[in-house]
Symmetry: C2
Subunit: 243 residues, 2 copies
DNA sequence: GCCATTTAAATGCCAGACAATTAAATAACT
DNA sequence: AGTTATTTAATTGTCTGGCATTTAAATGGC
């Protein structure tokens, strides 16, 4: 393997790209062992620290894992949905916070995606999903719950709804949309009245899901979206007037 | 700052996590300069190569960028949607190829998400989006087009549809779902008859979008999904009988 | 005041070494 | 022979020290 010395990219970035491409194309398959760092240094004609920087880049993307010891080395990692979740959530969160995405835009995206899962979830949700949602509703009605805990419970509730669709690809894609909204929602202070209204809608949602009523689920979600949006709007308004 | 020597994680991983957390929490803000590698070595009490490995991990996630020279250093990067796209697509693609996700499951997720964008796109699509879609339809009807090129055009067509919703968060989330399907679709051989049918559905879709007819768009998408799924099923069947 | 040069600070890269870990090979012992 | 203890070898993890390269600012000459 060779590296272009005229490229303006770091050597470690070029090497990482070379190996990453090999993984994507299938040249390197899951659990296959990469050459040792010393061998890679020879092959790419760079020093070991440079190879290591390249490997750390790949490790940061969960594309490889490393083991120490005699039979150790770097191995192509089987990227699992579980591993990809946090990455997806971190990225989505930072995208929202760094790009001045309005609450409305984020909210619209989140509920648009979530509503698309509703029919499938109404069809396929298991008793487990329903139980999780009922439990979260119960938690949400506890007095003395902090806004953060309320929002976290809200996220758990909605993730159960999404998971009810029984499609891991959907769950993965939705994780970013649903979880990344939490920091934004945390900025809203929920009064007792707000919570009661949200719990009411959550209950309607769970009821509809229990009855396999897709339209009812969609209606409840639409209600939640408009209520959340309006709530956020009024909170922002109040803050603006105060300042 | 301190690092736990009892943790079984690499020092570079711990340092990367520490800095990453500072970025997520807002302790480090966009375009802020991190301490130099030498200063970080002192602060974390590790050597410079270890610090560098940590920084490369963060760079691989586009959380920082580095500049050489007198006023250079590592800066917190403003994560843009454009930067996040390829990451998202790579991850989604690998998730599908490494986890034996069935074509049906992937297809269901993709069309479920895409159909959720349809009403918004019917409402907001610009002339530009329509023009892109018409151009791709034209390209798809060219004889002699390879299956790969046909699929790539298909992806471009659908991305224009999604972008028509005018919500960058939606576009980002959908990018993974739509683009990651391409390698799977490339495995299907599209006969002339298949292509004609798909182009017919694409045209119906564009027509409905032009008329701001949300229901028509949804119908066309539903038709596409079932046609694609059946096509894939018959191709797989044929291959199985052959072998 | 403007341009060329020097300087200093920073990242990029390398060579070599040692520590820590791990599995396999070997030796010792029963 | 079988089992246990020891040694060995391979590999990653980390450190030290250094040099090359890049870049902006400081300096100096005109």
């Amino acid at each position: 393997m060779k590296i272009d010395p005229n490229s303006n990219a770091d050597l470690s970035a070029q090497i990482a790209k070379s190996i990453r491409d090999a993984i994507i194309s299938g040249d390197l398959i899951v659990d296959q062992r990469l050459p040792s760092e010393a061998e890679l240094s020879d092959q790419f004609d760079v020093s070991r620290p440079t190879v290591r920087e390249a490997l750390k880049r790949l490790a940061a993307q969960s594309l490889i894992r490393t083991q120490r010891g005699a039979t150790g080395g770097a191995f192509v990692n089987k990227l699992s949905f579980e591993e990809a979740y946090p990455q997806q959530i971190t990225t989505s969160t930072l995208l929202l916070s760094m790009n001045a995405v309005s609450f409305e835009t984020a909210c619209e995206a989140r509920y648009t995606l979530e509503r698309s899962c509703a029919p499938l979830s109404a069809l396929r949700r298991t008793a487990d999903h329903l139980a999780t949602m009922r439990a979260e509703i119960h938690r949400q009605s506890q007095p003395g719950l902090t806004d953060e805990a309320f929002c976290a419970s809200d996220v758990a509730f909605h993730r159960a709804l999404v998971d009810g669709a029984g499609n891991p690809v959907l769950s993965y894609q939705l994780a970013g949309a649903v979880e990344a909204m939490q920091p934004l929602m945390n900025m809203i202070t929920f009064s007792a009245r707000d919570r009661a209204k949200i719990i009411e809608l959550h209950t309607a949602l769970a009821d509809a899901l229990e009855a396999n009523n897709a339209i009812g689920v969609d209606t409840a979600l639409a209600g939640l979206e408009s209520y959340t949006t309006n709530l956020a709007k009024s909170v922002m308004e109040k803050r603006k007037n105060k300042a």
